[in-house]
Every structure is written in C-alpha cells, then in structure tokens.
C-alpha cells in the first residue's frame, strides 16, 4: 500500500519535471550534505544555503540535511566519503580551494582527487593583497618591487597555515610579478583572517593576504587599503573600484571556489542529475540573492570542465608547493 503510493508519487514527480529526466535518476527521500567543519564555517554555509535553495527549487524531494564532520581540514570527511559512502548517490560534500590545497600537498594520506566525483562550483571568494592605510605601498607593483629587491622586505599575515591557501596566494602573485627566492618570503599564520588583519592594521605586520569578503568591514572603515584583487575581472558593486592584479600587469588569479564532490561509483545518470541540479541552482534568482547577500562572487566553470579545473588547480598548487620546499 505504502510502496504503491510512493511509486505513484515518484512517477507524478517525474512527470512534473522535464521530459529529459523522465527515465533518469531522481533522488528519493532525504539528501545529505556533509560540511567537513564545525557549524559556522564556509563549508557549513555552503551546505546550508545550497540545501535551502535546492529545496525551494524543488530539486530535492524532501529536505537536505547538513551533517557537520570536522577534522583534519576536511580530511575526515574525505576519508569517510572515500571509504564508507561509495555508490551513495544522495550525498553531497562541500568543498573549496582548501580541499584542493590539502589534496595537492598530500595532507589526506593515501587519498587523491580521483577517488571522488567532482560535481560543480556555486561561486567563489577572490583573494586580495591589502595593507594598512598608513602603509608606504600604494599599488601592487610598489609592493612587489620592494620584494624583488629583498624577498624579506614585506611580511605577510594570513588566516591559513603555512603553505595553506592564503600563503599560496602571496606566492602566486609574487611568482607572476617575477620575485625570486619565493621560500624566503615571510608568511605569518594566524587563526583566522580577522586576527591577521588586526595585526596589519596595528602596524605589526606589513601586508594582509586573504579573501575579499573578510576585508569588507575594514575596507569600508578605511583602515585597510586593498592593493589588488586576484580575479580575472573587476568585482561587481561597491568593490568595482579595486584594481585587479591583472590590470597592474601581474597575471595572478586566486579564486577560493565553493562547490561539491560526491562519492565514487555512482551511476552516470545520478551524477548528471546532480551536475544539472547545481547548474540550475547557480542560474536561479534565489541563488543570486544568496550570493549577493553573502559577498560570493560569480564562479561557475562549465559542468564538463569542473573536474579538469579541479585537477589543474591541484597540479598548480603541487608545483608551487614543491618550489617553496613544502613537499618533495
């Protein structure tokens, strides 16, 4: 009786959707989204906000349940997905550049990017290099010129560990600018971007490396001067007056993307369903609103290119990490 009703309901739902997906995979019941962090972080936000919009758009039958699985900077969730959830086509896991960085630096021992299915990105937060308002540096080239003379001339503070994404952004920019002896560039690691920024504003450290959303408070108050944003084009809205590194002649881009991966061994139909779902979500007005209110910038590689993008990013980070001697 119950089964019959369920089948009828699924059939009705399938009919109601587009014809192309009539025969294909449909999620049924509860969908899970693992946020590999404690409540409150970026991954948690990704799961919860995407979950809400997926529900609003009726791309999922019931609710999306966010599960927090903190540990090893996402490593615990990655290991869980690889070893225990193979073939589970109702599970999304939030990921970002932090995930690719750790994969590139072999910080998830015995695991690599091929062990999961990369689904898609829903936006990005772009890297910035900033100084305090009293700093002698007024554009990125002045800063980089000082570093070319002496790589220890400018000290950077950021919220990630040494070798983490905030550190890598400095190296990406310095490399593009032609600074030599990258391992000599001093990088000071703080618990979070806010702590790092107060040290820069307090005059204890020369420059800040982080993401644009972190800087907005101090940017508006005028305490912080952003020398460059590491994006392809200028950012929309109020942020459009910040120059990119590219237009200053330094070809450095550093998107901290937010997106998802899924377990290995899922049907192609199921994978296609979720890739399409992320596409539809990204195109929706609801998601645009979420992006706007949370400072998330446009970033959405074509679904066919996302996996290649992820692997390219991992390769780039690997090469850079080798160069600074972080990995062999």
């Amino acid at each position: 009786m119950f089964a019959a009703r369920t089948i009828k309901w699924v059939a009705a739902a399938a009919l109601a959707l587009t014809a192309s997906s009539a025969m294909a995979f449909e999620p049924s019941g509860k969908v899970e989204c693992i946020a590999p962090s404690d409540p409150g972080g970026g991954w948690d936000f990704t799961c919860r906000s995407v979950g809400n919009v997926l529900e609003e758009l009726e791309l999922v039958p019931a609710s999306v349940q966010t599960i927090n699985m903190a540990g090893a900077g996402g490593g615990v969730a990655y290991a869980h997905t690889v070893s225990k959830r193979k073939g589970d086509d109702q599970l999304l896991v939030a990921a970002s550049t932090a995930t690719t960085t750790r994969l590139a630096q072999n910080q998830f021992p015995g695991m690599n990017a091929d062990m999961v299915n990369w689904i898609g990105a829903v936006g990005a937060d772009y890297g910035v290099i900033a100084v305090s308002k009293d700093s002698p540096y007024h554009d990125l080239n002045e800063l980089m010129d000082a570093m070319k003379k002496d790589p220890r001339a400018v000290k950077f503070a950021g919220g990630s560990a040494n070798g983490g994404w905030d550190h890598l952004k400095v190296l990406i920019a310095a490399k593009a600018a032609g600074v030599e002896n990258l391992p000599r560039i001093p990088y000071l690691s703080y618990n979070n971007g806010g702590e790092a920024m107060t040290q820069v504003i307090g005059g204890h450290v020369d420059a800040f490396t982080g993401d644009i959303t972190e800087t907005q408070g101090f940017l508006k108050s005028g305490d912080l001067r952003v020398l460059a944003v590491l994006s392809d084009e200028r950012l929309p809205g109020d942020l459009s007056n910040i120059p990119t590194a590219k237009e200053q002649g330094i070809d450095a881009v550093g998107p901290n993307w937010r997106g998802f991966y899924m377990p290995a061994d899922i049907d192609d139909d199921a994978k296609k369903y979720w890739v399409d779902a992320v596409d539809k979500l990204y195109a929706s007005d609801q998601w645009k609103k979420v992006m706007k209110s949370n400072g998330l910038m446009p970033f959405h590689p074509d679904s066919s290119e996302f996996e290649a993008f992820v692997k390219q990013q991992i390769q780039d980070i690997q090469a850079l990490s080798k160069e600074i001697g972080l990995i062999q």
Binding site: A70, A161, N162, T198, G217
Partner: protein, 505 residues
C-alpha cells in the same frame, strides 16, 4: 552623551517583549548548559544556532538569545564546580579550588549564592566597561603585536605557581604535560604535521573540550567507582542558605577587582575567560595573602574567579563587536553566526548596525539581572538536577558529556580520546599532580609558540623585539615580579611570622 542616546536606543530593542522572552529563555538554557559538565558556552551557543535559524529569528533577537545563553553558561559553570568538583565549563575550573571545599564544609548554598553575586558583579562591571570603553579599547587591542602577546603568555605561566603552589615541581610538570600535548597537530608556522602519525583525527590537534571533559569528568567517575568499592564517599548536601549582608559586603572588593581584571583579560583577543578567572584567582590569593585560606574553602576564592570569568565573557564581546575579532571560542561562534545573518563584523558595526550592537549590550544588562534573579531562588532547581545521588548523577553526567562531545564532531575517535584523557587524569590525580596547569599549558602553549615565532619572523631573528615596546616591557616586569615574589618574599614573611610568634611566645 552620544553613548547614552545609543544605550536608550538599545534598551528600546532589548525591552521588546519578544526579545525579553528569548533573553529569559537563553538565560535559563544557558545556565543549564553551563551546569552540565562538558557543555560549555561555546558548544551551548553552537548547539542553539540551528534553533535560531529554524525559528527564523531576527538578527538582533537571535544574537540576544545567544548572548544570553553565553552569559547563562558562565553563571551555570560554577554549579557543578562547587557541588561535584567538576567544572561545568573551562572558565569555571578555578571555582572548583575553593567552591568544592566550601561545599564539603556544608556551605554549598553560601558558595552558590556568593558565586552568583560575584558573577553578577563581574558581568555588571564588564558590561559598563563595554559601554564606556568599547570604541577606545578597540584601538588599544591593536597595540598588541606578537611580542606583547608573547610577554602576556609568559606572565600567565610565571604566575602559574600561585594556583596550586604546594609543590612547584609538580605544577611545572603538569604545565609541561599540557605544553607537550599542545604540540600535536599541524604546525601553523611551517605547515608540517607534528606527532600525528598519519591519523587524520589528530591533524588539527587535541580538542580542548575533549581534554577537559576527559581529565575532569571521566577521572571523577573513575575516582567515584574506586571509592564506592572501598569506604564510600560522603555526598554533598545543599544546606539552607544563611548568608549575612556582612558576608556579601566582605566579598565586594574581591568582586570589583575580579570584574575589572576579567574584563581586561576578555578584551585581549585570544586571552579569554579561562585566563581571566585564572589571573583573578591567583591575584586575589596574592592580595589576601596569609589572611586567606585559599584552596580550603575561602569565599573569596569562589568570588574572584566567578567575577573574573563573567567579566571576561562580557569583555570578549569588545573585540568581537568593535573589530570583528573573537576574544574567545564562544565569541568566534557568535561571530560566525553574525556573518551568516549578513552582518559584516568590523569597526563599522557600531555605527552601521547600531541598533543591533546596542540592543545586545542593553540585553546583556537586562539578562544579567535576570540571571541573578534566576540564580538565587532557582538555585534549588538547578541543584536538584545535580543533587541526585552521585551513583545516578555521575553516569548521567558522563553520558551527557559523551553525547555533547559526540554532537560536536560526530566522531567516535573523540570519545576514545576522552576516555584516554580520563584515565590519564585519574593517574595524575593519584600522583597528586594538579590538572589545572595541564589545561593551561594546552590552552596557552600553541598561542605562545605562535607569537614567539611570529615575533622572530618579523624581526628576522632579533630577540630584542620581545622587549622593544613600553607595553611589552611592562608585561615582562609584571611577569618577573610574579615569578620572583613568592620565592623572595615567601621565606622573609615566614621568618617574620616565626619571629612574631616567638615574641608572643
């Protein structure tokens, strides 16, 4: 004048019936969460964030409820410290030292009442401080660079001997154990893993809460099992309250000192409530000197850390509200909540979100009165929950602690780890090695190391950076005095006392 205007605006927000109701609810839940060992303010707030979202609360209402939970947890932490000798949360650790002995002497009700009043005073002083000094202090916090932070942590360690001072070697050993445990995990300054043996769960180091719950709650359970098998153990009963005005007045100076120092400790990002209660306790012990009977149930030993940790909890809101920098674990959680409510934390919050910020400040004042009123008459209710015989209570508490730990990380590994800490804590207590320095080493070790290495990087290896500013020199001097005073003055005092005695005799 402007401040008064904003404050009245804030009261307008805080006194709305809906906000009042959620503040009351937050106070009650917070006190309960604080009282249950293992669940501290940070997890309490973290657990209730989903509730704020599901109820679809307005930003100011959500923040008012959560700050009420925060303040409530600071009040509640003392209840199990006093009655069970298990700190309800980390900042309540110091309250055990005199609260539990008081309770064993049959003065549990007095200890609870004194600590409630001290909590109220600490919180009141710090909230007034927050109102008056917030814009100013935000700038002061900026003057703390790595060298100043390093000196501050050295000061904390230098005064460590004062807490459990019977055997300095054992205190030192305990602090060293804490420092050793603190090295586990990723080394932020080089990005390499230390002592993690490819175990993913160890990559982010040892979680503070797990260590605390294991060392205190689980080892307490083990002790209980052992004693039950032997002679058995007396149960703490809550006596009818007999507190005289004179006694309340006698702790007045203590609470004022505690509140002020706690507030300062709270304002400094990264220092937090634990440090606040710790410094106030040691300082109070120093000030009172030989007149006191600290460690044996001195009411001032209960009042000082409670005023200190409640002062610090309000103080920690200063860097959060003015700079967007969390001053403690709990404010970090609150900050995350603000960001998800689409409020950009930072120096402009005071002007751009004036209604929210001042609403929360006014709610802190209102909530503080609520908590005092809740905590004096309702202490019976909270005590009822904890005064179930230990043979039922301890397993329940342990279970709650297990569930609490599990609910944070959803990892069974953490539970095994907690049990390991419990066994370790049991052994240390058998060897009469104090547990508090272990926790402090674990808490302050990574920050101290990080700041030293940052200072070295900034100065390119020149050690003189550590004493190159007036502020750091001042901190070093206090640290040296704190370290040497007991060594130099102790014997002199003892000699004088003996001399005085022999004269009398």
């Amino acid at each position: 004048m402007e401040t008064l205007h904003y404050l009245s605006l804030g009261f307008g927000v805080a006194l709305q019936p809906e906000n009042l109701m959620f503040a009351l609810m937050g106070c009650f839940i917070g006190t309960l969460i604080g009282a249950l060992p293992g669940l501290g303010p940070a997890n309490g707030v973290a657990i209730l964030i989903p509730l704020a979202f599901t109820l679809g609360l307005k930003p100011e209402t959500a923040l008012i409820m959560l700050t009420a939970v925060y303040a409530g947890a600071m009040y509640g932490g003392r209840i199990s410290s006093i009655l069970l000798n298990i700190p309800g949360d980390e900042p309540a650790m110091m309250t055990c030292l005199d609260g539990y002995p008081m309770a064993r002497k049959g003065k549990a009700a007095e200890a609870l009442a004194i600590s409630a009043i001290a909590s109220f005073m600490g919180s009141l002083i710090a909230t007034i401080g927050l109102i008056l000094l917030a814009p100013l202090l935000a700038r002061f916090a900026l003057t703390f660079g790595p060298a100043e932070y390093f000196a501050l942590f050295v000061l904390a360690f230098a005064t460590l001997g004062g807490i459990t001072g019977k055997n300095p070697m054992k205190t030192l050993m305990a602090a060293a154990i804490g420092l050793i445990i603190a090295t586990v995990g990723i080394d932020l300054s080089t990005g390499t893993q230390r002592y993690t043996f490819n175990v993913l769960e160890l990559y982010e180091g040892v979680d503070f809460i797990i260590a605390i719950v294991g060392l205190f709650a689980v080892s307490e359970l083990l002790f209980f099992i052992e004693e039950k098998a032997g002679a058995g153990r007396e149960m703490i009963k809550v006596n009818p309250l007999k507190l005289k005005w004179r006694e309340i007045l006698s702790i007045f100076p203590t609470t004022i000192r505690g509140g002020v120092i706690g507030f300062i400790a709270g304002v400094l990002p990264g220092a937090g409530a634990s440090l606040g209660s710790f410094i106030t306790y040691t300082l109070e012990k120093k000030i009172v000197g030989k007149d006191g009977y600290f460690g044996e149930g001195d009411p001032r030993g209960v009042a000082a850390p409670e005023a200190g940790n409640n002062g610090a909890s309000s103080g920690a809101l200063v860097p959060m509200l003015t700079l967007g920098v969390p001053g403690s674990g709990t404010t970090a959680v609150l900050l995350a909540m603000l960001v998800s409510l689409n409020i950009t934390p930072g120096p402009l919050m005071f002007t751009q979100n004036a209604e929210l910020v001042w609403g929360v400040i006014a709610a802190l004042l209102v909530g503080n009165f609520m908590l005092l009123l809740l905590n004096i008459p309702l202490v019976g209710v909270f005590v009822k929950i904890l005064s179930v015989p230990p043979m039922y209570l301890l397993p329940i508490v342990t279970m709650v602690a297990f569930v609490g730990i599990y609910s944070i990380s959803h990892s069974t590994f953490d539970l095994y780890f907690m049990i390991a800490f419990g066994v370790g804590g049991y052994i240390l207590r058998k060897l009469e090695i104090p547990l508090v320095p272990v926790i402090l080493g674990l808490l302050l070790g990574p920050e101290m190391e990080k700041n030293l290495r940052h200072a070295m990087q900034i100065s390119d290896g020149d050690w003189s950076i550590l004493w190159s500013s007036g502020l750091s020199i001042g901190l070093w001097l206090v640290a040296i005095i704190g370290l040497l005073l007991p060594v130099i003055v102790g014997p002199i005092l003892r000699r004088r006392m003996q001399a005085a005695k022999s004269k009398v005799g």
